[in-house]
Subunit: 444 residues, 4 copies
């Protein structure tokens, strides 16, 4: 593929906006109400002056305040749903002759008019960007008015198609990346906050650090998801040792282990359109190619649901036999744990490790799923639970969410498929023997 | 928007293929039958090893011979349609409660499983490319087996979404364009054949020539549609004067007129996904910005349906009063017309002009549409019929299709909207007074 | 020119380094002393393995400490000068026959061997970069050992050729520029210090701010010189109003004035190779093209030599008639000037303005030159002295260097040539009438 | 290094031309004679309006006819040489005190003013390009007027500095290269003519073909030198098997041998500025990195001086004992050799091989150099003579220049340094034993 040509090709995207100069004349009155503009866009007029109409709608939308947006979405719900008459007729036709042609007609008739509206709104320059923002606004509106939830189906369907993983582009983020992209990395980092440009630089520039993001050609300077990687000599036990500013930098060629220590989704408006799965595997492959000495790919991950679950267990232990001391230990306020004597701490740490193993391997939701969302993500990707690190994250948040415990998930490319199948079909959590050994014998 | 960054970003697309090296291990046996691979891809396995599975399917497809492809499409029709049980249930639910949620469920249930299959096939490197080729193969299969037509609905829906006009990129094609793109321009030119590289150069390099194409980021070195433009001092009457190798080159700044003398669709597999509409308007805007001296934007267009219509008219003149001499003249073989005396030629030319005006302005299909497909395209875009040029194209094809007559359609950016509305809603062909004057009085 | 192709072309520069892998085998022992390596490079060996030898020399040089560098330059002086025997012979030949051929031979014979050595050192990857750093180190060495000054002649000659202004590239610096370039802008800003990334952003991102730099293809992410520009509605009187964070941003299209408020040379190792001249004129042209509403191009400049000159004048007033009060006023410590009453301040300000006019228009060095180096730069470029702004820079440095006074130089593209000639040939400072009026009548 | 940034950086080069719009006002009268313009450019005016003056000179030069160019160069010789008074004074000063400072002054004083003139001419947009063309014109003028030869010294010096091998960029040429570069490859191929675009494609697109060129950032779409490479399974014996259109294409990964079968210099105006040396070694390194299976790097080279030498030998055999039959055989007209019987042909072939070994290994010019220029190039680069291929090139030119014999030179990266030294210092031609065995015993 000719990349210089592609690069130049894309530089024309920026020019698309200018084309609107000429199209403005079609628009006539920009004060035309937004619902009329939407109807225009779906009508024949959209054929001739779609780009200008789409821009007019999106600009009008962006000027709306919160009640205005609620009204806008309500209008979309009420007036841009499917055509019920046509739908009823299509059902009749299908019932009479349940053939492919009538199914197709039924499928079309049941498509809300919103979908075509959204597709046409994308004609505007930066259209995709604004539509992603529109979905963000929709989430806010749904919180106020749950009936609007139906509209989100249309966004999901559309974005699922546009943001097809085949269209995503993996790119390394480093200290030579444009500043306007880097500031988004600072802003979007959701796991271990980046404290300004110097901190960012420490995560990008040293020879033993990497960062990769997925981009979409239509959201060019706005990453979709990114992962921060540390190259190390062994699997780290705490986030502190990973982020330590004074640590000795390891020459990349000497690294054996790639640690995915932070994964952040960037676009709230793309919630539910999953990319992370692909990101980790592709980054692992790329790193392996660049640095053949790498043989271990692990995460260092938070366990955000652990403390809440444990609080419940302490009260109502279920099939766990907890002594009264253990219950008291688990109920100890975080503030007190700092000054424990060594023996107490050792007991406490052992107990936390056992409870974490229980949480991961046995505890399930009412519907039978693994409780922890981060665990579900990595296990669903085919990783296995490698190690439990008590004291891995002693920040306020780490203590609050998981009593300071972190875990490593391991991506072994040879086992991903099998692990994934075990988890997907039998809900089995594949774990290392060291983790499994932590389990207390089940009470019979 | 940061274009250097985007350019570099896109260079990573090429690397995606390499990632498969590692994924091959998931695939196990590449000799697994294609239908099983398709099922795998739609199943849970697709989550973990989708990219490798998608590539396996596409490679297997590309190895199929014609009967194999027919069998493949038949399988898609029979086994990857909608789930009828689920669909019937969704209909019942909708009937019971015709609410947005049940409509959405109905819409989903009526979607053939093929759609998700196609979306996942796009995970493969070059996936979009192969899917476009797959639709080409489908057209061939439909010719043999019309029942397969339903599958095309799924392609249309998907490509309509992926090739949303908001994603297309306009790019100038010139003599500095990579050779592998230029050879496609030579190959795809469908109106006035390009006779090799020297001829191509004559259409790209002189200061008074331009060529523009729409590209899609996923089909990077393969244009979707392109238009060739001549910059001139007035509206040309014949393709000969436009393509004349020995003509004097006009400095671009002195040009007043941009002539769109050839528009070619490139991708048979994107048939029915229309881009031409946007192409002409955007090129007109861009040229106007570069060369403010331009005030006239016209085509020099073939009229491919004229001769056939005229043959019918000559036999059965309808409301046209044709004398016997006129009928004889119109029936004259092309070979003979070269050596006509001046008076006969003048009479013949006048008659052809009148007939062309009739063909354009009055003649209609049984369903009431304008007959000529090129006319429908430009008039539907909001152009008006500007001039009829008898003797505009004396090539064998020009004589055969339209007795050598060509026409100019004019794009006046101020009138496009009105013209389009007139044509779209009332089927009115907007034409210049000079064209209208050519009409013979209708027989009453 | 084909820029996509060029861009891709340049991406190959980075690969040059890798080629050395193979060449290392030529090198044998990297512990070979640096003087021997230099001789090797100039000998026949340099033909076969120049790239590896050049890299070996540059690496060895970069490992030297300060005494080592002094020894290195001393060696260059003693052993890599011209060949005196050959030179004497060339002089004889020229004396015998003073023809072009003997002049050419004389020119060659008088060229120190260092020049060819430097040219060959440039074969190493990043060679140009290291050579620029080597000249920086030479300046340090010259301070200790003035005899080394002759070596700088060779650098000047070579860099004058390599950094020919025809090879420089003007590029806009903005918020989308890579962070590794931006951090150099922060570091190199020499006039009004940039206080970190937020301050930088305030100078780059608002619609009424611009920054441009000259780059050289061989020093790709290291600017040579840059200028910061404010777009305003009129000529500013103080740096405070330009840098005010809370100021209202002006839409660029409404600006009439481009203010060059900071110009910084970046490469100490290119001292004496002048680019600034071209930078301002080219930026002015580019801005005028982008924003035709601009009609005024001025600087807001420091006057770094004013306070020192004034201190001399206060003691020894020369042809200036200063009253005792005036002398006392000029001697007032900066700390006291803050709390002056209005009348005193007005008197003081008037006096400072008069003195500045005197400094600029009449005061000269012993050799008859304008005293202020910044003034010489702009006047030599063809600017005129437009306005004196008392109180233009009340920072500690501004008060210390120039009692807080700043000036505007104006670049009127129609007058540059004439102004330059007046200054270059007759040493005449072209100034506006408002400046000239400030002059006190000369004492006769 | 940040390549995206560099790419974008370079796109500004193209804009430099536009800057002249504003500078034109400085120029006043473009009809000013070219010698006056040159003087202006060297004077103070050049400081202020150098870019416009430089362009004016270069435009005036390009309008000159042949006598005009002769007059121009004569003027450069007569009026832009060194300042003899200053030179004489510098000689005196040096004689009095032969110190570095006086040597430096002497060096400067002996520099013709032309050098600075050329440096300033480079300020014009496309200046480097035109200066290269100017040197081409100079060669023509020197043919008519040898006294102009001195001017070429200045070009050589300048171009030697500007086209420093450290500034050159290696780039692969393939079928995705812009057409305007490819047409230059067609035009410049000097060894085995390219017969149009189809032939070009056969040399670029197959998996077992490569082409690489050196570019300079200032001559962006104009290569300096290029080499065509065939990837093969063994060392080819004839150009026919390399260029055979119907040959089976070898997957690149299976190749063991890279054959440099054509090297062409492109810029007559850069004659004597050598790049080929570096090109072959760098291409060899790059190929080895891409295709680790390659272990043999050879040329397939013409021997352009063989037939002429052999004609001399046949007449005056020197230390070769040639029988009368052998002399007659060598004198046989090319036309006759086609229809020889097998035994005669075998005898003839053996004789030609022996003579070629003699030509390469023993024959020398009067001054003791190897006779063949192509041999001097490769042996000087450190290659060894690997094999003599009788019947390697049976084209008319091949028969005429070398009786159809070709040779392979082998680049073994481990031996390059030693081979080069042997050739450079002792004039020894390193050859394989198979070649050495072809030598007839010397007559004693």
């Amino acid at each position: 593929m000719d990349m210089a040509f592609l690069g130049e090709l894309l530089t024309n995207v920026a020019d698309r906006g200018r084309a609107l100069i000429g199209f403005e004349r079609f628009l006539g009155n920009r004060s035309r109400p937004i619902d009329k503009l939407c109807e225009d866009l779906l009508s024949g007029r959209g054929e001739a002056s779609g780009m200008a109409l789409a821009q007019a709608v999106l600009e009008a939308f962006q000027r709306l305040d919160k009640p205005g947006r609620l009204a806008f979405f309500t209008m979309l719900r009420e007036r841009f749903g499917p055509d019920h008459e046509r739908l009823d007729a299509a059902i009749e036709a299908y019932r009479a002759k349940p053939y492919p042609a009538t199914v197709a007609a039924l499928h079309q008739a049941s498509e809300p008019r919103r979908q075509e509206l959204f597709r046409r709104l994308n004609l505007a320059p930066e259209g995709t960007h604004v539509l992603v923002r529109m979905r963000e606004a929709l989430f806010e509106a749904i919180a106020a008015e749950p009936e609007l939830k139906g509209i989100d189906e249309d966004f999901r369907h559309l974005f699922g198609s546009w943001f097809n993983r085949g269209f995503l582009v993996l790119r390394r983020i480093d200290w030579r990346t444009p500043a306007n992209v880097l500031e988004k990395i600072i802003r979007y980092e959701a796991v271990h906050e980046i404290q300004g440009w110097d901190d960012l630089r420490r995560r990008l520039e040293p020879a033993d650090r990497r960062c990769f993001a997925f981009f979409h050609p239509q959201l060019v300077d706005d990453p979709l998801i990114f992962v921060e990687v540390a190259l190390t000599g062994d699997i780290p036990r705490s986030i502190g040792e990973v982020l330590e500013p004074e640590r000795e930098v390891l020459p990349a060629q000497q690294a054996t282990t790639a640690v995915f220590y932070s994964i952040s989704n960037c676009q709230e408006g793309l919630r539910g359109i999953s990319f992370g799965n692909f990101l980790i595997k592709q980054v692992a492959e790329d790193l392996k190619r660049e640095l053949p000495g790498l043989d271990t790919f692990v995460t260092l991950s938070p366990v955000p649901g652990f403390a809440r679950w444990l609080a419940g267990v302490a009260e109502e232990p279920g099939d766990l036999v907890l002594t009264n001391e253990e219950r008291a230990e688990l109920a100890r306020p975080a503030g007190e744990t700092i000054s424990l004597d060594e023996a107490t701490r050792a007991r406490r740490d052992k107990l936390l490790g056992q409870m974490m193993a229980q949480y991961m391997l046995r505890a399930r939701t009412a519907s039978g799923r693994v409780i922890d969302p981060v665990a579900r993500f990595h296990l669903g990707n085919g990783a296995r639970l490698e190690r439990i690190n008590v004291g891995g994250n002693l920040s306020a948040r780490g203590l609050r969410e998981s009593h300071g415990v972190m875990v490593n998930y391991r991506y072994d490319l040879d086992d991903i498929e099998t692990n994934h199948e075990a988890f997907a079909t039998r809900n089995t959590v594949v774990a290392s023997s060291s983790v499994r050994k932590l389990l207390r014998p089940a009470t019979s």
